[in-house]
Symmetry: C2
Subunit: 213 residues, 2 copies
DNA sequence: CGTTATGTACACCGCCCTGTGTGCTTACGG
DNA sequence: CCGTAAGCACACAGGGCGGTGTACATAACG
């Protein structure tokens, strides 16, 4: 615990205030939303004085953006890298979300902040594009006729399931998975998921690193 | 303009304050979101004193719920009743949204309010269920094998397009429409949309009146 | 006409929000 | 062991919020 974190300027020392703040953000922003979580409450939960918080982040906006950037990628993380699955299975595994998932925080941030130019909104946009690109890559690997289209379609299904789960208060991901299966089978010419790895050309168009849901 | 509106108790007289408030809500809540629109600003836009507003609505919560209830059903309204289209065409027409649509306000309300028991959240839930039921009815009319499933799937596509349009700031409804076409063709055994009007039994399970997007 | 419901103007309350100023304590690192 | 910086406690500023109290104006209907 001697030298674990560095501030934005690269200072030394510190007993983990920044990490505690971000950790509390993860919990509170997800549970209560961004707008309904005040800095007072957040600092109390992080056991951090408000003064310290504002020395680490210039304002709540920056904190929100960093919260999205550091969002625990527990949902989709690793799905794309699982080598024990065929590409087709990987595409479908993206819809196996644990039922404990509250809601995709990127959609929540975009709606709550309501400003497309907010740093967090920009990041949410980039992230969603990156997920679609990753899906497209996997679709290409699976031999889809139009990988970009399939990737975009599957991304839309994920967002639809997330939004609908929130509004209806009921898990909508199984429905999305069923649609995904249909789309995948329709998009792959030879629907035999029998090749562990075929053409891996991947003239990839997705340079962005991708994390969670 | 003599007797146009009646208050919650059914009183008489009035020069349209309530309507102006709701009209201003339509505009401001959509443009700025619910939480970012204060009652002061709303009353100023409606040219209504704050006192009057609070005589018509017990609080902002009630106003928000009524705003959702009176939401201008310009997007999906009438699509289900168009007799000049086959059921299949009607299902697809639901995805022809004008590009001016900001975002489905029901999703916005559910995310912003963040309380599933809020009156507006409850109404949003009912509304989404009603739309799915309507889609299911039309799917049944079109001869789908599993109308309920197809209705739920199409509803998910609509929500996904709405959410994704918001986050990406780019129209996602064409993608959703393409998926819908695949699903519909897959779900209808004889894909000949040749009957102008077939069974109109509609053992409907949707008592709620349905309006917009 | 007068009564009564309706709408208005304006100040006001208490609350919570983001964000600071100030001075004190702690702990690391030389 | 001491300097320095990270962190803390506390109070407070400034503003927007939802919501109200009071006194006055107006329109409808008897």
């Amino acid at each position: 615990m001697t030298e674990l974190e560095k501030g934005p300027q690269g200072r030394r020392r510190g007993r983990g205030a920044r990490e505690r703040i971000l950790s509390a953000s993860q919990q509170l922003f997800r549970e209560q939303g961004i707008n309904r979580t005040g800095m007072d409450q957040l600092c109390a939960a992080a056991q951090v004085s408000k003064r310290t918080a504002y020395q680490h982040f210039t304002g709540k906006d920056e904190l929100v953006a960093e919260y999205l950037r550091r969002f625990d990628p527990s949902v989709l993380s690793g799905v794309f890298d699982r080598t024990d699955l065929t590409p087709r299975e990987r595409l479908l595994a993206a819809f196996d979300v644990p039922p404990t998932t509250p809601l995709c925080p990127y959609i929540g941030a975009a709606v709550e902040l309501h400003d497309p130019e907010h740093p967090a909104s920009r990041y949410a946009r980039d992230y969603k594009k990156a997920v679609a690109a990753r899906l497209a890559d996997t679709a290409r690997e699976a031999g889809a006729a139009d990988p970009e289209q399939l990737g975009e379609q599957l991304a839309l299904l994920l967002d639809g399931a997330a939004a609908r789960t929130r509004v209806l208060n009921a898990d909508a991901f199984p429905t999305a998975a069923a649609i995904a299966a249909v789309l995948i089978d329709n998009a792959i010419p030879a629907p035999s998921p029998r090749r562990p790895s075929g053409d891996r050309g991947t003239t990839g168009s997705a340079p962005v690193p991708v994390g969670g849901q």
